[in-house]
Symmetry: C2
Subunit: 301 residues, 2 copies
DNA sequence: TTTGACTCTCACCTTAGGGGAGGTCACATA
DNA sequence: TATGTGACCTCCCCTAAGGTGAGAGTCAAA
């Protein structure tokens, strides 16, 4: 009994003992061996018995903690030999992602609870607005869902760098138009647009040859304000689209006349970030989701 | 095309169309059918084709949202016919549980990042204290891990009801002793104890015949302060135990002399809740994890 | 009637292990 | 030395919530 601890060279322990010390189950240890995440120090060729070394305990404990934090084993395997600071950074990153996802879920839960409780929440309520004729500088591209928001950030970076003139109010904010589906298989195209003063159109267009100059005619839009956080695969988009769809049906607007058909076509996502990015004076982040529509004959213009 | 919407009796749609409207994949819809969560309104006996009714859309959307919130399908199945208020309550409960788990993970992540970054965090640092002889009223029981904390709450309820006299300082707080393992297979026993003034011992013992009267001898304890939140299966317990174990090894205290061997035996979990519960005047919740030990011969007493 | 889109079932894959069957190994006791 | 007992081995099946693909049948429009 005292033999096990006595001499430090023979620090080998059986899988059961190692399991107790590391708080990892025997089953888990065998799995980690099989996957190459944590191989025993020695495997007896005759019996197949696994023997672990004391020096493997820190690794095992690290694995135990990372698993508690829902790190996948594949990631742990890659991380295990790395510098502690690298691991710390990855843990931070991972945890931030989890946090972001949780915030999105939180607003969804809040919405659901409100709905179920019969409270009329202001979330996902549809309103309409008249959009005047606007002169736009645009960048269109095909992107798949993963790169969607990256494209948005790229456009933001371009705007920041070019110092485009400020435009007042929300009509001056940047927005994106979905000219096609961006749901998994299909990839857009998606167009990011920034309104500019019409009088500067030609000058700015020649200064920014990579951006397309367009004039968008005046039109009406039905829109839904999104609760914070513009992330691509967020469930909020679905709820917002459903809200628009329901509103259209209730108003008697035919699908053909609303820019939701087919699917996402022509939908606009407006995004204001804080001051230095959009170059307008809306203080906080704001985003909405809008569908241009034609008034049905029954509605008075 | 207009036919589909025109007359309300024929509101049947194919699985693909229903998938589009509900934002549930065709695969998921077939699974929900198989599991009895959401059966199609009609299944063509000859072809096996599933046809859904428009009226099933609200249910389908509810399922979609609940799945986004990680509700298991089994729970959704039970919930689906219920009153909206009942569902709202369950969503709240579920979300609170998720929140609690996330908080525990958060402190774990924080600890890990500190450790990896080489910062000496004050978390899980071992200290020692001398505990004087104490007179205790105790309740011992075998519990499995799920009921562990429930047992603690029960003891709290008893204390609250009996109005036991206050005791000053941390030595007056309630604590539990693990007389055996509570890890999955084994179930304790676990004993909850409340120190009382020695002079009131006989009177209180006769007033509380369901509680055992014991006198605990003076001893030393090594202890680790836990960061908030006393939940049973929390990873914090493991870290705290590891810290105690490491400390003991570093101090040259033999395992036999520390109450960690075998396994959890004799470990104490001290818990102070806010004022009205424990009947002492520690303002905030506080908990620690302690192991009584004998000083090794080499250490001066 | 043909074509193309849609749908069906069936079977296998994913993550991170848990549970158990049947067999082997190591150690302690009679 | 025999034997019991517990620890350990491999192998197989199971979980939840679908995703992916094969091969076959069905629906609706041209």
């Amino acid at each position: 009994m005292a033999n096990e601890v006595e001499d430090s060279p023979s620090t080998e322990v059986s899988i059961g003992e190692f399991s107790r010390r590391s708080h990892l189950s025997v089953k888990a240890l065998r799995l980690y061996d099989e996957l190459g995440v944590l191989a025993p120090a020695r495997v007896d060729t005759a019996s197949g018995y696994r023997y672990y070394d004391q020096s493997q305990l820190p690794d095992a404990r690290l694995i135990a903690i990372l698993r508690q934090l829902d790190f996948p084993l594949a990631a742990i395997k890659e991380l295990l030999g790395s510098d502690p600071l690298v691991i710390a950074r990855r843990v931070k990153e991972h945890w931030r992602e989890v946090e972001v996802a949780r915030v999105a879920q939180n607003s969804l839960a809040e919405y659901l609870i409100n709905q179920l409780s019969g409270k009329e929440s202001a979330m996902y309520e549809v309103a309409t607005r008249e959009v005047p004729e606007r002169t736009l500088l645009c960048l269109k591209r095909n992107v798949d869902p993963e790169n969607l928001w990256a494209f948005g950030k790229e456009f933001i970076a371009i705007l920041r760098e070019r110092h485009l003139p400020k435009m007042p109010g929300r009509e001056g904010g940047m927005f994106s138009i979905y000219w096609g589906l961006v749901t998994g298989d299909s990839d857009g195209p998606v167009e990011w647009c920034k309104p500019i003063p019409p009088e500067d159109a030609e000058a700015l267009a020649s200064q920014n040859p990579d951006l397309a100059l367009r004039v968008e005619p005046a039109h009406s839009e039905a829109y839904v304000v999104l609760p914070s956080d513009p992330d691509s695969s967020s469930p909020q988009w679905q709820l917002a689209m459903d809200a628009l769809q329901n509103w259209a049906t209730a108003q008697g607007i035919d699908d053909d006349e609303l820019a939701i058909q087919p699917a996402d076509l022509g939908l606009r996502f407006t995004y204001f970030a804080a001051e230095p990015i959009t170059g307008n004076n809306v203080p906080d982040d704001y985003s909405d989701f809008a569908a241009p529509f034609a008034y049905p004959d029954s509605m008075s213009r």
